[in-house]
Symmetry: C2
Subunit: 350 residues, 2 copies
């Protein structure tokens, strides 16, 4: 594996790398020795029915899920639940373009779909951990895409689901937004069709990518309210350069592109010949659909349409002007709403 | 002047090129023989009090204002009003980077501000047309920026004002959005720091720029409702490639960048040491502030804050899921609302 200063135990640990064997891919080909980076919190109980699965979002790792979403006396309480956070394929900790040696590595990394991640996680849970029932699956953004895929693909196994700020079928608008992110990176001459020597060779592209996230990731209301100043940045320029570019700058371009391609194509209706109602109708989990009120690319209205197709579901939007990146936990009141919803959901008999 | 296949009488005429002499610029320097491309409709009455001024938006010309906003029995009726549409500096018809020969041309074109445009238009109206009273100034987007600048800078001359889908002081969020548009173009190796041979050398950058407009120019609701299909495009791909890339593709990159820089810095509070309330408090015009409900970068909430600072004003948002580019007239119901508002505004005694 290629070393990379950003990805590793120092910044994102502790996690365990678990080899789940060869993962056949929906787009063809396979990942041999597919490794999932897994962080667990708490203990599996004797009945093996207190497991919670959390998949990760675009650019995120298990670390932010641990820091922002899990805690003693929180809804996701490791003293009550066995919480398994699985880093998505391509995120830099699990098997990813940058850490795959040989002919499948870097720009030659195969196309991975949300369904591939979910099958990989299913194998991990059933074969490695001996879990065949999940008290809850939850995730934000691409984590929501994986949550929906779980609930549709393994309806009997998922007792409760909480997709946050994400959709079951990606929209055309969101597809083009993700395309602009991809183009910001691939248009950098330093990208060299993915054959750059190091992330910093693509610094300009990664900065453009970060600026796009600045525009779409927060909201007009966030900036009007001066939330970027409240977060500790004197100017818009320092917010963009230090926070946004600082966040994305160290990441591996091929890894980001692997996730972006996957994000664009999230769609549970692939199971039902394109019939979204039929796919969502398969869900048996008690489901709380939780968009963020000011999300500019997974807006509540898109999520509401899907929620209405899920049998045992409730629409629980989170009121938060931080927009999509409220997922980062920048607004404690938003996280409080989320916790209250999760507490209620976990208390629901299923 | 450099010939350019897109800009000219064939596609945008008829208009008249009027030399207003040397225009001193707020950022320093001057444009000698500044030419404004002007299209007029109707006749100035004997009292010289029936003139309406329409400045243009980013990438737009007088042609779309004529086609979408003016008409017999419309609010802007050439049988009642003398309507003067002035193309903004840099838009490709008026003096612009691409049509300026010599050392001030192309990438060396000087920085132009909204205030420069408005002073140029003031000179045109007073000296060329002998107009010292405007029944109405209106415009969309950058046209709204110029409308606000007019109402603040020449409060006694502007009797009524209708800024549509734009702000008096550009927001930090909008600044960064415009920055992503700029970067989409300047990051193209074919841009050559503005020294490209022809627009098509920057085709990739112009296409990225068009994709960004696809994401931010319309709205998530527009695409959810299939409005792009209703406009005649079978797929999102054809909408992006034919309509959006087709629209921006032929334009001159330096011209677009001249306008984008200007757009980023629109701010009437430059007249009052940064005090926006004081600047807007100067407005004497009866003002209808008309944001578009689903605008993703000039959102109604930003416009409402400004409207509340204008003495004789009303907030008249246009309900339209097409978002900002509803300005193109894609939704007849939106244009009907606009016409009704303008009719009422024009009927108001001042």
């Amino acid at each position: 594996m290629t070393d990379h200063p950003y990805y590793g135990q120092a910044l994102h640990g502790p996690y365990e790398l678990i080899d789940i064997g060869t993962l056949e891919l929906e787009e063809g080909g396979a990942i041999p020795h597919c490794r999932l980076a897994v962080a667990t919190h708490g203990q599996l109980n004797a009945a093996r029915d207190n497991a919670i699965l959390i998949p990760t979002w675009y650019s995120g790792t298990s670390k932010i899920m641990e820091q922002v979403y899990i805690g003693s006396a929180r809804a996701l309480d490791p003293e009550k639940y066995f919480i398994v956070i699985v880093n998505q394929i391509g995120n830099g900790l699990s098997t990813s373009p940058h850490n795959t040696p040989g002919p499948l590595g870097r720009a030659s990394f195969p196309r991975v779909r949300i369904g591939d991640d979910v099958r990989a996680q299913h194998r991990l849970l059933t074969e490695h951990f001996g879990i065949d029932s999940l008290a809850l699956v939850l995730g934000g953004s691409m984590g929501a895409q994986q949550t929906y895929e779980w609930a549709v693909r393994y309806p009997q196994m998922v007792k409760r689901a909480a997709p946050i700020a994400g959709t079951a079928k990606n929209t055309e608008h969101d597809f083009v937004f993700a395309e602009t992110l991809i183009e910001a990176i691939t248009s950098d001459p330093g990208f060299q069709n993915g054959d750059y020597a190091q992330s910093s060779d693509v610094a300009a592209g990664l900065q453009r990518h970060a600026r796009l996230w600045t525009v779409m990731g927060w909201s007009t209301d966030f900036f009007r309210a001066g939330r970027h100043h409240a977060l500790g940045f004197e100017s818009m320029q320092s917010f963009v350069e230090q926070f946004m570019c600082g966040y994305f700058g160290p990441m591996d371009p091929n890894d980001l592109l692997c996730m972006a391609w996957k994000w664009q194509r999230g769609d549970v209706s692939r199971h039902t010949g394109g019939d979204l109602a039929a796919a969502l109708g398969r869900i048996q989990a008690k489901t709380y659909v939780m968009p963020i009120s000011h999300d500019m690319f997974f807006p509540p209205a898109d999520c509401l349409l899907e929620q209405q197709l899920i049998p045992d579901s409730e629409f629980r939007p989170l009121d938060c002007i931080d927009g999509h990146l409220g997922l980062f936990g920048t607004d404690p009141a938003c996280i409080d709403q989320l916790d209250a919803n999760l507490r209620e959901l976990l208390a629901t008999a299923v």
